[in-house]
Each structure stands twice: as structure tokens, then as C-alpha cells.
């Protein structure tokens, strides 16, 4: 298959002082101080190479600051790689950042006209496509209002619709799929599937490993500006998760040098984390709040855990998940910010998560819990397979033999039809 985009040994260095606009006075001072050559710089990307074929969906994952956005900007031809080169065949279009793709004082219609013309469409093609952009974005009512009055959801829908409907050969989407309500996300994913069937190339980044896995043919993992792995989504994502483990280990080592952190040994499962905050106890309770680790299918379950901070932290994030014996994630809850959800943090606090009805089949499960910094870059503490949960119940739910992960009720009816439908004269 022909190559749509080829990235060859690309590196990108940013001069840090360029990030804030400098006045001539400042640069004269800097020059007088003899720091001109030493102006601090950092490598956002180092020696990254890959190629994307036509019709491929190529994913890029990596943590905040790993260089994803820099890479995408270069792919779009914004800025020049410090070394190496990028070759592409055909029109590239994309949504790089949500705040500056449109001009706020112009209406949605005027803005999409600009995008269309930039994508090389003629007046007539533009007229034809405009309507499909507006209806895909569900913006009929507001299209003639200035963009600055739009909500972020409206802005995103229009940006996405304009990017994909104007038919570029290569579409670049940065983190965009994670926004928008679930229904629109679904609609976007369907649209991407058609786009792909038409032999077009898509390059995406996403924080959501699941989305990357579902969407991509090939995934590149970036870590500190370097390409550390490229392969099929399954492998790339598990590598990405391993990186998190490595980063946590690295930080533990750093912290050990300063303070003595005693590793905690557990009777079962495993535990990893820097111990800057710990989950000191976990209790599972049933409906009547009495501690137990056996519940009936469909009953309520409360997961209560104590969080202790051993070093002062402003905020943290946590996850609580229920996994079955095959390590399939039945459900996972994530709290991205304690401050937002629970107010201020105290040195010791108890968090309670209540599930009103746990509709899982009978079997053995584990509760996995994790505490993270709010950028999810490593783990403060993670309990893996340490807290077993037994669910009891029967496969017979009101006379219906039910299997799988979910133990939900189903209602069945049969409507008696005559063998031959009377024709309605059609």
C-alpha cells in the first residue's frame, strides 16, 4: 500500500524563551549577559520515525508532555522539524487544539467556508458540502451566530464535522474524540469508520486506551519525546501501561533516597506505588452496611477505603474497578480530582463508593483500587487483586438461563402472528 505520511528521524527542539514573547530589551540583556548561546532549550521530540499507509488508522499514545501534540503539529506542517523530515502525499487536515481553530467573531458558517476553501474546495463543492457539515454537527439553529457564543461542545462538533466532511486525504485529530457527549462520540466513531472505508488516513491521539484499541490499526507509544514502541494496539497499550509501572518504580527509587519508605507486604495480590498517599484499609459492605465479601447478585455493594497522605498533596485521583477471574474489567469508576469531588484533602480520610445494584453473575471477582496524581502519570498506590469479592446467585433469572458478565433481567414475549400477512393492497 502506498504511504500517506512518512516521518523520518524527526527531532524538534524548542527554545524555552520563545514560549513567552520577548522584548528587544530582554534579548539585549540576555545578549549582554553572554547567555545568548546558552538560552535553555528542550527536545520535545527525538529521532522519531514511522510511516502511515493509506487507509490506516494510526494512534499515538503517551503521557502529558510526551510529545504527542508537537508531533501532530509537525505532521500538519506547522513548524519545521529541527532535524529529520516529514513527507506526505495529499491534503492534510486536522483539529489540533480546540481553542483556536475558528475565529470567534465570525459565524459558524463563515468559519466553515474558510476551512472548506483551505481544503481546496471550489465554490460549488463548498455549497454542496456545507449542508452536510451543518447537519452532522447538529448546528442548524446556531450556524449564523458568532462562534464565540458557542459552548465548547458546539464548537467541537462543528470543528469535527468541518474537518471530516471536507474530505481531506489525511485527517489528524488531537485528543478530540474524548470530548462531546456519548451519543455524538458514537456518531463520530461511525463517521470515522466510513472515512476509513473510503481509503482515507486518520492519525489520532487519545488518553483513552480503550478508544485507541478499538479504533487503530497501529499504535506508536511516545515517552519523553522518543518513540519507544510501535505495534498493534494490544501490545502497544500493554507496553504503555508497563511504562506507568516503570515510572512509578523510578519515582519510588527517587523517594527512597530521601526518606525511608517501607514496602508493604500483603497476604495476596500485589501492590505498587510511591506511597506518597496510601490506601490503608479496604472494607466491602452489603446493603445493611455490615462488612462482608460475599454478596448476592443484584444486591448493593459499598466499597469503603481509607486514604492516608504521607506527604502533602494538593489533589489526587483514584480508580475503583471490579475485575473477574479472567481479568476482564466489569466496571471501573474514576474520580479525576478529589478536590472537585470531595472538597479539600485531609491527611486521613475515608472514601465510600456505593453501587446500588451490582448485576454481576455468580463468581469470584477482585476489587482493584488505585490512587494517582491528577495527571495519571504514575501511581501513589495501587491494589491489584488484593480484595476478593464473591458474588452468589443463579444463572436462572426468573426462568431465563443467563450467562456472560452481566446478570440482568430480561423480559420475553411472543406475539402470535398469522402465517401469511394480509397484503395491504400494495
Amino acid at each position: 500500500m502506498p504511504v500517506a505520511v512518512a516521518v523520518e528521524n524527526v527531532s524538534k527542539r524548542f527554545r524555552l524563551h520563545r514560549n513567552s514573547p520577548m522584548t528587544i530589551r530582554e534579548s539585549v540583556y540576555q545578549w549582554l549577559a553572554g547567555q545568548h548561546e546558552k538560552a535553555s532549550s528542550f527536545w520535545a521530540l527525538q529521532d522519531v520515525s514511522f510511516s502511515v499507509e493509506h487507509g490506516q488508522v494510526f494512534g499515538i499514545i503517551g503521557h502529558n508532555g510526551a510529545g504527542k501534540s508537537t508531533l501532530l503539529r509537525l505532521l500538519c506542517g506547522l513548524g519545521r522539524p529541527t532535524t529529520g523530515r516529514i513527507v506526505h502525499s495529499g491534503q492534510v487536515s486536522g483539529i489540533l487544539d480546540l481553542t483556536s481553530g475558528f475565529h470567534g467573531d465570525l459565524t459558524g458558517r463563515q468559519n466553515i467556508t474558510t476551512v472548506g476553501i483551505l481544503n481546496g474546495l471550489t465554490k460549488r463543492e463548498l455549497k454542496e458540502r456545507e449542508q452536510s457539515v451543518i447537519s452532522f454537527a447538529e448546528m442548524e439553529e446556531f450556524i449564523d451566530q458568532p462562534v464565540r457564543t458557542y459552548s465548547s461542545g458546539m464548537y467541537l462538533r462543528l470543528a469535527f464535522a468541518a474537518a471530516i466532511e471536507f474530505d481531506p486525504a489525511v485527517l489528524v485529530l488531537d485528543e478530540v474524540l474524548a470530548v462531546g457527549d456519548e451519543r455524538f462520540q458514537k456518531k463520530s466513531l461511525d463517521r470515522i469508520a466510513t472515512f476509513r472505508k473510503a481509503g482515507k488516513t486518520l492519525i489520532v491521539t487519545s488518553h483513552s486506551a480503550e478508544q485507541i484499541q478499538a479504533l487503530c490499526d497501529e499504535v506508536l507509544v511516545l515517552e519523553e519525546g522518543r518513540s519507544v514502541m510501535q505495534g498493534d494496539p494490544q501490545n502497544a497499550i500493554s507496553y504503555y501501561h508497563d511504562l506507568m509501572r516503570q515510572r512509578t518504580d523510578k519515582r519510588i527509587a527517587q523517594l527512597r533516597e530521601r526518606t525511608e519508605v517501607t514496602p508493604v507486604t500483603m497476604p495476596q495480590g500485589s501492590r505498587q506505588g510511591t506511597q506518597e498517599a496510601t490506601i490503608s484499609a479496604v472494607r466491602l459492605c452489603d446493603n445493611s452496611m455490615s462488612p462482608t465479601n460475599i454478596i448476592q447478585s443484584g444486591d448493593g455493594l459499598t466499597i469503603e477505603f481509607d486514604v492516608q497522605m504521607t506527604s502533602p498533596l494538593k489533589d489526587m485521583a483514584c480508580t475503583v474497578g471490579i475485575f473477574n477471574m479472567t481479568q476482564a474489567k466489569c466496571v471501573e469508576f474514576g474520580i479525576p480530582s478529589f478536590q472537585t469531588s470531595f472538597g479539600s484533602l485531609s491527611e486521613c480520610q475515608t472514601i465510600r463508593c456505593t453501587i446500588t445494584s451490582l448485576q454481576l453473575h455468580a463468581g469470584s471477582y477482585h476489587i482493584n483500587l488505585g490512587l494517582y496524581p491528577t495527571d495519571w502519570s504514575y501511581r501513589y498506590d495501587f491494589h491489584w487483586q488484593m480484595h476478593p469479592l464473591q458474588v452468589e446467585g443463579s444463572h436462572d433469572i426468573h426462568g431465563v438461563y443467563t450467562t456472560g458478565i452481566l446478570a440482568v433481567e430480561s423480559r420475553w414475549n411472543s406475539v402470535q402472528n398469522a402465517l401469511e400477512h394480509p397484503s395491504n393492497g400494495v
Binding site: 481553530g101 475565529h103 474558510t114
Partner: protein, 250 residues
Amino acid sequence: MPHTLELIWHLIKRDFHLRHAGSALGILWSILVPLAQLGVLTFTFGSLIRVDIPNYPAFVYSALLPWTWFSSSLSGASHLFFTHRDLLRRPAFPPGTLIIVNTLVHLLIFFLSLPLLFILMAWQERVAIWNPFTFLLLLLIQGMLTVGLSFMISTLNAFYRDIAQLVSIVLSFMFFLTPIFYRPVIESEYRTLLSLNPMVPLINAYRALLFEGTNPEWGPLMVTGGISTLVCGLGYLIYKHWLPDVVDAI
């Protein structure tokens, strides 16, 4: 190429729209502002401090219009990349287009004001018979000068915001050092200094063509033409060289 022209035309319309969105008089302001300036100059130098020039309003206006094209293009150029950040974020958009568009927008405003000049001339019972080819040549020379300087200003202002301030100071100096509201200085000890201003031969030529109805002095005009070509080329090289860093800085 037809596509580039379409893009430029679209961006010109977009610029006019942004310029006048929400104002009641809209595009009229583009004509009213230099007209008001003409009023101030005519009152000051025609009535307060009497300058003995016949048909003074038309005399000033014939030079003020091309000057306004020059000065408003350059002062607009400084912030061009910042005000159109949305376009600079688009793949496949050459930012230099904005400079061409900016120069053309102000040229159109110049054209929109031209009928007023002719009305003013007719009112004072003068009919300028002018040569359209010479006029085009003047526009071309000034256009290249403006585009070249704009390339430099827009590019450098992305790194040093001081440029915008400098440009406005230099422009206000130049306004007084260019014979817009007075006759060209012929005998002066500062003659060499004044001749450094490339706008002088241009403004003189416009006045000869539009007001006097004569041919311009070709000598100085050709020198300005040469300077304009050099400035245009140099400006483009500066722009081309720094463009990738501009994108990072914006």
C-alpha cells in the same frame, strides 16, 4: 493558482467583515477616516496657518490617499499573525497570504475613496487627465514596497512585540517628512536626509498624475522602483527563513 486567488478573495471579504462587524456605518468608516484627516489638515493649513496652495483640499487628498494605503497596511501588518491565529493553526495555510490580503484590503479602501477625489477636483473645476498605465505602475511599486516591509514587520513582531510600537512611531515621523500637506522641499540642507524616504518620489508622482495631470519625474521614481524590488525580495527571504519559528512563537 485559481485556488489561491479564490482563497485571497475569500480572505479579503472576511477581513472587511471582521473590520466592520457590529458597526452601523460599516465600510463607510474606511472612507470617513481619511476624509476626517483631510478635514483637519485643510482647516489647519488652509485656514489657520495659510499655506498658499490653490485647490488645497484636492492637493492634500491626492497624496493622503496613497499615504493612507501605505501607513494603514504597515500598522495592520504588525498584528496580522496574532489576529488570524485560527488560520495559522490550519494545515496547508501559507501565512504570507495574510500579508498579501492585508495590502489588497487597504488598496481597495484606497480605490473606494478615489471617486471622492474626483468629485473634489470637479468641484474645484479641475479635471485630471491621467494615464492609467502610469497609475498601475505606481500601484505596483508601492505594492511591492508595502508587501516587502510587511513581511519584515509581521515576522519580526512575532518575536519582538516592540516592532509594532516602533512601526507606529516611524510612520508618524514619515507622515510629516513626506510632502503630503506641503509642497515638495527642493532647496534644503536636509535634502539628502529627506531623499532617503522612498515614499517621497511615489507621493510626488501620485500628485503629478492625479492632481496636476502631468507625468511624474521618472528618475527618482525608478530609483524607488529598484528599492521596492529589493525590499520585497529581502522581506520575503526574512519571512521564509523565520516562518517555522513564527509558527512556534504564535
